[in-house]
């Protein structure tokens, strides 16, 4: 191992972050290379200087203030807040309309569908198209769409 390569690995060597083989090779190199040995000492001293800085002490009330700001987050997102619920969008209104139509279709007396079985697929198609129009994929399962079997007798 040459000096350039060793110089790049000395920090990791000091930190014990090299594999055993590299550690041994570097140790061997250091034994015969005073330049790298002195570089090693300088890095080690730099490390110790940083490591020995004394911890900065936070103000005594800091932890309470930190937690208070988190509790404020909860308060702001509570149901009282006007931002909690989304403003009705076009999609929301269209979805509501689809639900109402579905309810109306479902409330048609059963005997009428029995008298004219050809109306069933049309009702189903209208319902399906309305649900498609609000961007809800009936295959995705929410909300569930009744099948022709459910409406048909």
């Amino acid at each position: 191992m040459n000096c350039n390569r060793v110089a790049r690995l000395l920090d990791a060597y000091i930190d014990g972050e090299l594999d055993g083989e590299s550690m041994l090779k570097i140790r061997e190199h250091l034994r015969n290379c005073p330049d790298c040995e002195s570089e090693l000492k300088a890095i080690r001293r730099m490390k110790m200087l940083v490591a020995r800085t004394l911890p900065m002490v936070p103000p005594t009330d800091l932890e309470d203030r930190l937690l208070a700001s988190c509790r404020k987050q909860i308060a702001e997102s509570s149901p009282q807040s006007p931002f909690k619920y989304p403003v009705p969008t076009f999609a929301g209104i269209a979805f509501a309309a689809a639900v109402v139509t579905f309810a109306l279709l479902a409330s048609i007396p059963k005997h009428s569908t029995e008298k004219s079985p050809e109306t069933t697929p049309i009702a189903f198609e209208i319902q399906r198209d309305q649900i498609y129009s609000v961007g809800l994929d009936p295959m995705a399962g929410s909300p569930t769409i009744s099948t022709t079997h459910a409406i048909a007798p």
Binding site: I43, M46, A51, P58, L66, C70
Partner: protein, 211 residues
């Protein structure tokens, strides 16, 4: 059109469901914050170089941590998770501010000494640390923030490179290189701006001319 509407639907759904926090969850979060706010403050201080910015940074990071606490996996140390958020928040803030101002960490003459812990460790060590404090913090502030972060996590927090990599969300190889370059820049800065200190505490006799 359909997908746009569908996105709108799922987005509003999500915004409603995020802020649900149970009592038990909050209690857990509180105990974690109380446990590690000291080390987090110290890290924030070393990153920013002054108490006001340290508090702002820690405040912002704690709120972010709280918001994403449901994603915290308690197989990992909470402190490391918080440090990761702190590191990301710091990088965001540095990017946001870097174009507008340079932070000056010079203290006015005669201002009270650094707010240092009065532990029961031996007095000489405290005296030495107090003496080195300002030039060292200046040097820390002078180097690249990612190098600074890696050096602090390894040397102050005593983390293994793998932990540093986890906190900084990078590879161990990158951490190794950041620590190497960070320490090198620290030494260069001290040699230039605090030559006496550098000669006394870092350089060995035979290299004092090189730096």
């Amino acid at each position: 059109m359909l997908t746009a509407l569908r996105d709108k639907f799922t987005k509003t759904d999500r915004s409603v469901s995020t802020p649900q926090v149970s009592q038990a969850q909050y209690a857990r979060f509180e105990s974690h914050v109380r446990d590690c706010h000291r080390s987090a403050y110290n890290f924030a201080y070393r990153l920013t170089g002054n108490p006001n910015d340290a508090e702002d940074l820690l405040q912002e990071a704690t709120i972010r941590a709280f918001r994403f606490f449901h994603k915290y996996d308690d197989r990992y140390a909470f402190q490391n998770w918080l440090f990761r958020i702190l590191a990301n928040t710091h990088i965001d803030l540095v990017r946001r501010r870097s174009r507008f101002k340079t932070v000056s960490i010079e203290r006015p003459e005669g201002s009270p000494a650094w707010d240092i812990a009065d532990g029961d460790a031996d007095a000489d060590r405290d005296l030495l640390a107090g003496y080195l404090e300002a030039p060292l913090q200046n040097a820390l502030m002078a180097i690249n923030s990612e190098f600074r972060m890696a050096v602090l996590l390894a040397d102050v927090e005593g983390m293994a490179y793998e932990e540093v990599a986890e906190v900084m969300q990078t590879s161990v190889g990158t951490v190794r290189s950041r620590i190497h370059r960070g320490r090198k820049q620290l030494r260069a800065h001290l040699a230039k701006h605090a030559p006496e200190l550098s000669k006394r505490f870092i350089q060995t006799e035979d290299e004092s001319d090189e730096l």
